[in-house]
Amino acid sequence: MSTLALPDQQIRVETSSAQRTAPTGRAGATIRKTLYRSGAIIGFLLVWELIPQFLLEPASKVFLPPLHEVLQQLWKMIVSGDLLTHISASLGRSAIGFLLALVIGVPVGLVVAWFSRIGDFLNPLLEVFRNTAALALLPVFTLTLGIGELSKVTIVLYAAFFPVLLNTILGARSVDPLLIRAGKTLGLNNFEIFSKVVLPASVPIIFTGIRMAGTSAVLVLIAAEMIGAKAGLGYLITNSQASFLIPKMYAAILTVAILGFVVNAALVALERHFSRWARA
């Protein structure tokens, strides 16, 4: 009996020790992976900090202050509430334009996709508009809508509209016809086929468009604010530059970068959430 029991015990010991080492090993691997992935960013920040400190002459150091000066400035602006004013100005504009683009783009896209003759008719025009850089139209919007909020919201709307529209059309058109047939045999009428089959089936592709729209909404707005505005991150950048407040300019640029990153990450998370079922 004891001889029989021995190997069994050995195995049990082995598995338990394996269980003990596995989590720490996995955690170590995750830490290593995270370090490796953030390595490039950390390296970049180090270069930003060290090169102005030790390699640049004082005259050119003014134009590229080391990271810690920029961060100090950023902190000052956070504490004074200055930064928040500009962020909320920018975010407000892009959110309104972006949401309008969704509210208009998705239904229009669905209609265009559903009535294929309308789609064939409109498509060439849509292609022309889509391939016209939004910023090229900024003077037109400024002339017709003034330099206030309206022209800025409009340019965001314009930039965000096309990715949403075109992806909605693409999504609705690429619905598996088999699902439509199945829906019909399950008693769905045309409208129900549309709302219960075509719409949910196109959600993953529509969301790709929404993510693209979100990114371009922020990008275009910053550029628009740089040309003419009284508040906002784009204004903050050009205004600081003009006033020779160089650390402040970099602080604003850094904020823009972080904001773009956060907006994109949030939209990616949202996209994942709504497309869970598509990961077949």
Binding site: G187, L188, P200, W277
Partner: protein, 281 residues
Amino acid sequence: MSRIEIKNLSKKFQRTGASDQSAVTAIDSLDLWIEDGEFFTLVGPSGCGKSTLLDILAGLSTPSQGEVLVDGQPISGPSLERSVVFQQYALFPWLTAAANVQVGLESQARHGQGLNKAERRIRAHEYLRLVGLEGVEDKYPHELSGGMRQRVAIARALAHEPKVLLMDEPFAALDAQTREQLQDLLLDIWKRTKTTIVFITHGIEEAVYLGQKVAVMSARPGKIKEIVNIDLQDRQSVDDIRSTQQFGEYRHHIWSLLHSHSRQDVAASVEKTLISSGATA
């Protein structure tokens, strides 16, 4: 629970703008009579128009000629009375298994003749249990195996209690073992519900095992070659009925019906290639 009469049915496919002569005849003046509560299988080579026929029965496409009567009434479009199970499952991937099963029930409810929400959920669970699925109610299709997905599809087709169940090669994409399991499941369900089943397959054995009658179709144009009455005892009361002599005879008979024509075709085409290759040499 319904009788189906197909009278002088033809279906031609025509490319838009093409002339009348270029039309492809998928089904040519076909007559068929399917009894109330019958398990009717259709077997034929690919391209014999059997899927076209099923589409017409489902109301998903209209015949070019002739008519189809269900209990004496002509078909006008899809209906909850005729459910379809497709080869590729056709489950809605954004709905859970239970929600998929409820789609037809919800349509019924919208037309004011159905169950309320709680009853629908109970019914969905009942039918998932009927097809041998328990505990997967909240799973999404991509989390299920092919066999389980087809079980969900069968539950979805049956939950609103249709009179006719139309099945378009439903087990063709499954592995052999799963296929046999689902064949037995389907026979059980049929015995219990007495639904008229029209089952399309290209598997001769499957057709004989399931059908009370097997209609053998020929291709181009699609016609019924022969209807074979399958006079076997209860399939599941005998061990391995597929290896009995009687089963083998049915199988062979249908096999020869399917091959008598195509063998001549093969011979002709071989001859043709020999001649043409001889000419080039």
